[in-house]
Symmetry: C2
Subunit: 320 residues, 2 copies
């Protein structure tokens, strides 16, 4: 049987898995992402060899490696342009480097795009051809699939859903703008808003907490804490404002919401739905299913695997 290696090269974790064409994972391995370029390549090679060894052991043939990276990149040439969270990779022709090391074909894709492909093929958006994927993590990312094809944009920078303005004079954003969706609907935004609002909620268990995580706020919200509920209301409202615009502009079949902060789903999604009802046209609003992502942290790996399978095929049958 044919399988591929799939790698999610994250800012924190480096995941590698052995995946078949139906998205079934046979083996997986993980490590922290090293800091330097050489260490990263060495680590990818060693995880790939570990997975390949497993493949050979059970008689599977490994044909290609798909890589998802948190970067703007040239997927045709397999070059990483700019990776803000793994700066060691800036400008690296990672596919040719790894093809040289591993002697198999390598394919590169942006991580949010890979996650969109993963969810569309193996996750909650199975059966949909035109979707918008939004990942609510430390930041807010996105991937757009139209008629079954990734829309990467002219320079591969499309899908930056987190940097739609939802509040013109709102909170400053790392991108240089202000009032970006990312400042209201990401895990970091949950923490910032909790700190901003908490002086009004002295009885909240979050009031005097020194170190806060988005998960703390979620747990408090589940217990009915009013501060946490207020934060998730804000988060869901702005998410709805952004998504309503995308629904009016793109008229997609489904919107998949993933990333760590999507765990707070039941606390924020009612406000998201309310804004979409108020702000989007009725027909596209009714069309666009709001789906919670299913693949969690493995969306990128599974998307990278699907990409490797698809591209490998097209290379394996030249001229057809």
């Amino acid at each position: 049987m044919k399988v591929v290696l799939a790698c999610d090269l994250g800012g924190t974790n480096l995941r590698m898995a052995l995946v078949d064409k139906d998205g079934k994972m046979f083996y997986q391995s993980r490590s922290e992402t090293p800091k330097t370029r050489e260490e990263i390549i060495r680590k990818i090679v060693s995880l790939a060899e570990e997975c390949s060894y497993e493949a050979r052991r059970v008689g599977y043939e490994v044909n290609a490696l798909g890589i998802a990276a948190p970067a703007t990149l040239n997927s045709e040439k397999g070059i990483i342009m700019k990776a803000p969270n793994v700066p060691a990779l800036d400008g690296m022709p990672i596919c040719s480097v790894l093809e040289n090391e591993l002697k198999i074909q390598c394919f590169l894709e942006n991580d949010a795009n890979a996650a969109a492909i993963g969810e569309q093929n193996f996750g909650s958006a199975r059966g949909f051809n035109s979707i918008v994927m939004v990942t609510l993590g430390t930041g807010v990312g996105g991937g757009i699939i139209l008629d079954g094809k990734l829309w990467r944009g002219i320079d591969g920078t499309a899908g930056e859903i987190g940097h739609i303005t939802v509040e013109p004079m709102g909170a400053s954003c790392g991108c240089g703008s202000r009032g970006c969706l990312e400042q209201y609907s990401s895990a970091s935004a949950i923490i910032r808003m909790t700190k901003e609002f908490r002086c009004d909620y002295p009885r909240s268990p979050l009031y005097s907490r020194l170190f806060l995580t988005a998960k703390d706020v979620y747990e408090a919200g589940k217990q009915g804490d009013k501060l946490a509920l207020k934060v998730f209301e804000q988060m869901g409202t702005y998410l709805g404002i952004g998504l309503a615009g995308l629904i009016n502009v793109l008229n997609p079949e489904a919107i998949v919401i993933g990333g760590g902060a999507s765990e707070g789903w039941e606390l924020f999604i009612p406000y998201t739905i309310e804004q979409i009802r108020k702000r989007a046209y009725e027909e596209p609003a009714q069309r666009a299913k709001l789906l919670k992502a299913e693949l969690g942290e493995m969306a990128g790996v599974l998307g990278a695997a699907k990409i490797a399978f698809d591209k490998m095929k097209s290379v394996a049958t030249p001229g057809i």
Copy 2:
């Protein structure tokens, strides 16, 4: 030589022209748009016959009719779904009705989409494959072309750029939402904002004007009137906020700005550029050329002609 008939079925005017495959118009005719369904069809048929007569007179062969309509519609089936400005057409299978009358193939497209196709093929966006077209008219409309293909959305409702939220608690919009781009960057918005701001500008020639048009405000702005300049600043700023989001999400090659209110270009575009610089990522912002539409009121007609030529071809060579 082969030519097509192209019709722009507007809320106010009905235009018909004889166009060749290079977008050259040989003959054109115009009438007010009648109110009832029967009168509209009769008028289209009579204009089509007038144009066809001219074609025959000079020895040209008329093969098809392309129609641009201000409506959500099913272009494959040639049916108008909903036309808020020409309600008589709601639900009408206009292509089969006209094919029956005229005995030539008919093709239907939304007017903003047709304008985008027109500008991309014969106007300011010649040579670009992935563009966003924004029309600043009574309302704000849009059309999206990605990789040379119109993106219509799943229900044909995509491209509603005028209904992106740019000010969450802003002015109420006819669509039921508030703070839509249309409320800040359309011709009607120019008039509304002039009336809103003018109590602060008692010396403006617009201060006590009873009837105001967007053109009056533009003319005053060209003369340096501070009220008018303030209005165009607001218009351009919000347009930039909306376009910056589209640039981050779609990474297009160009944005074409048309419609009557685009006449104020030199008064609003500096503010649009400023917001794009502040709010969009550098790479896609530098990529996206801001182009003033060139075809004016004929963009829809020329787009409809191009569509008729393209589809006619594909029908004429079945199975290939």
